[in-house]
């Protein structure tokens, strides 16, 4: 792990292929070291609670993939996480950090619940309308942050976060209010206050293969991941978005105004989270009913997925599956007698382990850039 001195141009040209290899080697070593460390610490933690690490690992794998029907469940959870992550990616590329997905997701689910339970129409129309309106609701909710940012200079990191807590209140209001979404059916299965369930026709079709089943929201998410990757890499719109994220001044100079393009990016970012909420509800989360705790941290975890995928829409796919697997795997831990909170710790350690190598790379690159810059300018 040699620290390169500030590169001279000739060196850059000669060494570029050499350096790419040595960089790749460094990155691999870093990943192996940090993931190894995370697993070792996790193993110690499990041992401290009086369990054996292999047993815990087996429980996790069973819960996530191996036991009958489990990988279908994992994929059902991965779908909304991936959607949330895609929204995060769109924002980050434009230089905007929308971290309020949990709230935007709730607003999307709320819109879906409203369309599905309160409007009349053909099932498919309601389903598509609900998903669309869900996306729009999530986008509009992020749009509040956009207005605050570009009108009053409120950082979107703060406003999107705080809007999450308001979203919880709005959902709470909706499902406890008789004329709104509250389920008034006297024969409802539980006494808990929820919305009415989505009618049969307004649910996402279930895909069944190899004894597993998952909702077709996964297909939507995968298609969108490919589309987002394509749009960002290959279209004018994606290029302008990236330009805005990289250099506001150059963007403004060539006609990409931060206000307009940035608002659009925030809206799109929220729309993905809103769609995630609508997909969760129509995909059967909490028995097709909107509840107060409906979002179950999917918004936060989708954010981590995007972070770990380093804002690469395609890399977000395996990361989403990994995070979904940790969740479903944790469900089986209880049987081994291990506190399921330990999974949260393991998850956090893994996040750190996966974030350390890119962070190290980034710091090195900056240092190199700074060294190059200071070698060049004076006075």
């Amino acid at each position: 792990m040699t620290h390169a001195p500030p590169p001279k141009l000739e060196n850059v040209m000669v060494d570029s292929s050499n350096r790419r290899w040595s960089q790749l080697r460094d990155v691999t070593i870093l990943y192996v070291l940090s993931i190894g460390a995370a697993l070792t610490i996790s193993g110690f933690l499990v041992a401290m609670t009086g369990n054996s690490a292999p047993k815990v690992l087996k429980a996790l794998l069973d819960g996530a993939f191996l036991a009958p029907g489990r990988w279908g469940t994992t994929l059902s959870i991965a779908a909304p996480m991936l959607l949330v992550a895609l929204g995060m990616v769109v924002g980050v590329k434009a230089g905007l950090f929308n971290i309020g997905q949990e709230g935007q997701l709730l607003m999307g689910a709320l819109a879906m619940a409203f369309v599905g339970t309160k409007l009349q129409g053909a099932g498919l129309v309601l389903l598509i309308g609900g998903l669309t309106l869900g996306a729009l609701a999530g986008g509009a909710y992020a749009g509040v942050a956009a207005v605050m940012r570009y009108r009053r200079g409120v950082p979107e990191v703060i406003s999107t976060l705080l809007l999450v807590f308001i979203a919880f209140q709005i959902v709470g209001f909706a499902i406890t209010t008789d004329w709104f979404l509250r389920d008034l059916d006297p024969n409802r299965p539980s006494k808990a206050v929820t919305s009415a369930p989505l009618p049969e026709g307004v649910r996402l079709p279930i895909i069944r293969i190899f004894g597993n089943e998952f909702h077709s929201g996964l297909v939507i998410a995968l298609i969108l991941a490919v589309i987002v990757a394509y749009v960002l890499a290959r279209t004018v719109w994606g290029f302008k978005l990236r330009l805005l994220g990289q250099n506001v001044n150059v963007a403004q100079m060539i006609g990409v105004g931060a206000k307009k393009a940035g608002s659009l990016a925030l809206f799109a970012s929220g729309a993905f989270a809103g769609l995630a909420g609508a997909v969760m509800l129509a995909g059967g989360a909490s028995s097709y009913r909107l509840t107060t705790g409906f979002s179950t941290n999917i918004g936060w975890q989708g954010l981590l997925v995007a972070l770990l995928a380093r804002s690469n829409p395609l890399a977000a796919i395996p990361m989403a599956v990994l995070f979904a697997a940790l969740r479903t795997g944790a469900g089986f831990l209880a049987a081994t007698g291990v506190d399921r909170k330990i999974v949260d710790v393991v998850q956090a350690l893994l996040v750190l382990a996966l974030l350390i190598p890119p962070a190290v790379q980034e710091i090195r690159m900056r240092r190199r850039a700074r060294a190059a810059a200071s070698g060049e300018t004076s006075e």
Binding site: P7, K8, L9, V12, M13, S16, R234, T235, V236, W237, F239, K240, R242, L243, Q246, N247, N249, V250, A251, Q252, M253, I254, G255, V256, G257, A258, K260, M365, A369, A373, G375, E376, T377, S378, E379
Partner: protein, 531 residues
Amino acid sequence: MPTHSPDEAPAILELRGMTKRFGSVVACDDVDFVLKRGEIHGILGENGAGKSTLMRMVIGLILPDRGSILIDGKPCQIFDPVEAAKHGIAMVHQHYSLVNALTVWENVALGEEGPVDRAATRDLILSISERYGLEVDPDAHVRDLTAGLRQRVEIIKCLRREPRIIILDEPTAVLTPTESEHLFEVLREGVSKSGWTVALVSHKLNEVTQATDRITIMRDGRVVERVLTRETDAPTLARAMVGRPVALINEAAALGAATSGPVIKTVDRERDVGRDTESRPALEITDASLRAKDGAVLLDGLSLEVYPGEIVGIAGVEGNGQTPLARVLASLLPLEKGTVSVDGATVRTGVAGAMLSAGISVIPADRFHSGCVTEMTVAENLMVACIGKMSRSGVLQPDQVREQALTLIEEFGIHTPSPDTPLAQLSGGNQQRVVLARALCISPRVLVAHQPTRGLDVGAIEYVGDRLRAAAESGIGVLLLTTDLGELASLSHRIKVIYRGSIIGEMRRDELDMERLGLLLGGSQDGESAA
């Protein structure tokens, strides 16, 4: 010509052979300097002449590569400002180091050791204020103060330690003329009543001639002259300050063509005569005015026009409105008053992309801030200005992008391993070529070049100059904003001088008069009316 003071006051500070290099640039080259007790000593020079570097070595902010410092005849080493303060040396910097959110007395107390004593600090401020006529309210918040008052706070901070030697670095840069005069009165009083010795770093001729006893003139890191203020005048100083270009340009003009170094071929004089009256200006700026958020005037009724095929050079000391002007022309800032028009059509200011689509390309002074996108590849940077051409119904055409990149890389001689190399990996000169290629590849009507050769080596400088000249020859109106007088003189058909946000003088290339230029740069309105 160097004269030494006849009145033999003892030297309080003496610098011998001070040398400091930054990379390949020699900021100070074997500089000798003597400060005599009880004098106000002006250190005059253009931007980058080495004045500030020299003074920062005295205060210990920069360590010299070579040279010695003698205080009261005794050699000593100054490693940091604390050490300097022990020797009674204090400096008032060009950029203030005040905390805006704190009050005046809190700012003054910041440098103190031990517990904060509000009453004592306020008393101290009031007594200094009274003694030197530096009135300021100790309880005012710094953020509410004008630039002049902030400087008073800075000076009070400096006086609190009762220094013997006070160094002021471009103290009047942000002051109004009245504030400047007041400052000089304060300095005079301090010298006569409290035994101060003052070193005043400046590039303004009139204030140096008004306020000082002796003047040391620096150019390119060397002392070129030492004079007694009463034995000189502004024109002489101007000539000394810009020294070398005078000789260079006169020679070039006499021979009809320049042959040496990065000086570009002399402009064809036939071509620019009479051009002004015939055609419509490519770029016309009328009565442009703009203020900063804190109320400071950035542009003040600035008007200028650039005709197709000519290079108009804007001369000026840095900070007189060049950057706001360039930012307005890059759609980055809106004007408060006035208009910008291209080929007679008014362009809206401050609207994203408006200037570019009207045909104004800008090469900004700060590459990283607004010139290029270092995280993107060379090819991506080259397509920034013409995405429309590189795409079909919103989808980028990679082949076209690559092809254009390869063409421009070839045409502009950009050294890069491939079009897909991140721009950050290129050298400064090559990054600047990318910026230049991007600015020219859209065939603009107007090219604005702001410090286009800053930080480049000689070869690259020559290349940029050639390109600008070629652009003008192809009928583009070129506006060149630079502080490099040599560059201005060798490239421009007409030279205008910018001072405090407005144009205060103009001369054609063939009537170039370095003495008058020097006076204009220092803000003196000359007698003869600008054409």
